[in-house]
Amino acid sequence: MQNPLTVYELSQRIKTCVDNNPLLSNVWVKGEITGITYHSSGNIYFTLKDKDSLISAAFFRYMNSKLKFKLNEGQSIIALGSVVIYDKRGSYQLKVADVMLEGVGEIQLMLDELKKKLAKEGLFDASRKRSFPFLPKRIGIVTSPTGAALRDILKVALRRYPNLEIILAPAKVQGGDAPKSIIKAIKELNRDKWNVDLIIAGRGGGSVEDLLPFSEEGVVRAFAESRVPIISAVGHQIDHPISDEAADFAAPTPSAAAEFAVQDKSQLSASVNQFSRRMDYALRKIISSADGRLSNIETKKIFTEPKAAFEFKEYELDRISESLHYALNEKLRDSASRLEKCSRFEKDMILITRSKEMLFAKGAELLEKLSPLSTIARGYSVSLDSAGRIINSVDKAKQGENIKLLLSDGSLGCVVNSVNKGDVLGKEKEKN
């Protein structure tokens, strides 16, 4: 007998076999919930069973806090978890990481797998996304010709852009044939012949199963391979088919897809008009200010009355020549008047001379009359004393004084014999 193992040692061996065994780790298990207990710690314990087996399961608080629904007794679920050994009790457990309701869960599982696979291939890479033409002229639509989606898309698109060109590639959008039909339609619209600027592919809301064709691998690939930019427009806002991942744009609804893809023409027209108006107005302002400057210049006399400038100069010239004339005239006049004055003076001089001559003649005559010479000539004489002074009074002569008598033809030396004062003619006074 070999050395026996301790229970603990055996448990450890079991643990090594189980822990991290890919067959037992992160596996999806489906079964029905039974014996569920919500522990006050927040952990959830239950047993998962099917008709043949059961396994106890622990869904710990830190894992179950993200769960969006309540787990209930009898629910069929699919649980993601790993098997762990609980050695203290000699049991094994499923340590649950996530739970889905069966049905939905199963589909979701499949979809998640597909999504993962395609993502790995790079089908959803952001670098693959193309931008959409701003102003599409012609759009392609892939949907059912009788569905609500088409009606919604047409309504919105034509309201926004009344002269839009639309090509519908009809497709079945639910049921088993749908994927092939959708793929065919997308491929057809990708042909150059149809010359579409973008494609909207989708359908209206429905059950999870109804929307499945848009998560079908072939369809998702057709979205990814579309040469023309493509919009996935499936269901309602809450629906996320895988086509959303592969498309260049995922619209929450078909109407939203049309809203996104097609511009509001009236708004664009309004923008063009507005910018044009702004431009017109701005230019008018620039021109009117330039015009103002121009008319400012234009109103300057040199432009309005170009002659005016010369007129002014002429005027100035006139004024100058006038004043020159004036000055000249003045000078002339002055000279003339001076000349006149001179000539007047000459006349005066003549007159004066003449009158002076007359005066002189008169004077001379008078002088002749008054001249002692003539008196002397008439018989009078002038007596001079020895000093030559005129003796005009007897008082000035003394008896015995030698005096000189001036006569008209010579002089007489005389001696005063007597001095007799008194009237010369007749009543001679006796000298005392």
Binding site: L135, K155, E165, I166, D177, K265, F275, R278, A282
Partner: protein, 98 residues
């Protein structure tokens, strides 16, 4: 030179033309351009607005539905009921191309 200009004019998108038009409007509004330059920009703006209007009216409203005819796929014009976006009743259209 002239040819080159024409080519860029053709490849110009509505979007970039509209953007440039707005730029020109803003430029003119600053009032900082000289008259000659302003007239030049304005002329360009008028060209752009004409281009934009032309682009907006380029599409001719029509709705076609593709139909399978033998091995061919053909397009068939359809009429819509009012503004409701619904295809006129009586239009005989196939539901798919297969």
């Amino acid at each position: 030179m002239e040819k080159k200009k024409k080519k860029t004019e053709e490849t110009k998108t509505f979007e970039s033309a509209l953007e440039e038009l707005e730029e020109i409007a803003s430029e003119l509004e600053t009032g900082e351009l000289g008259l000659d330059e302003a007239l030049g920009r304005y002329e360009k703006g008028v060209q752009l607005s004409r281009f934009c209007r032309k682009k907006l009216d380029e599409a001719a409203r029509k709705i076609d539905i593709l139909q399978k005819q033998g091995d061919e796929i053909i397009s068939k014009p359809v009429k819509l009921k009012d503004d409701e976006g619904e295809i006129e009743e009586g239009e005989d259209v196939q539901g798919e191309l297969l």
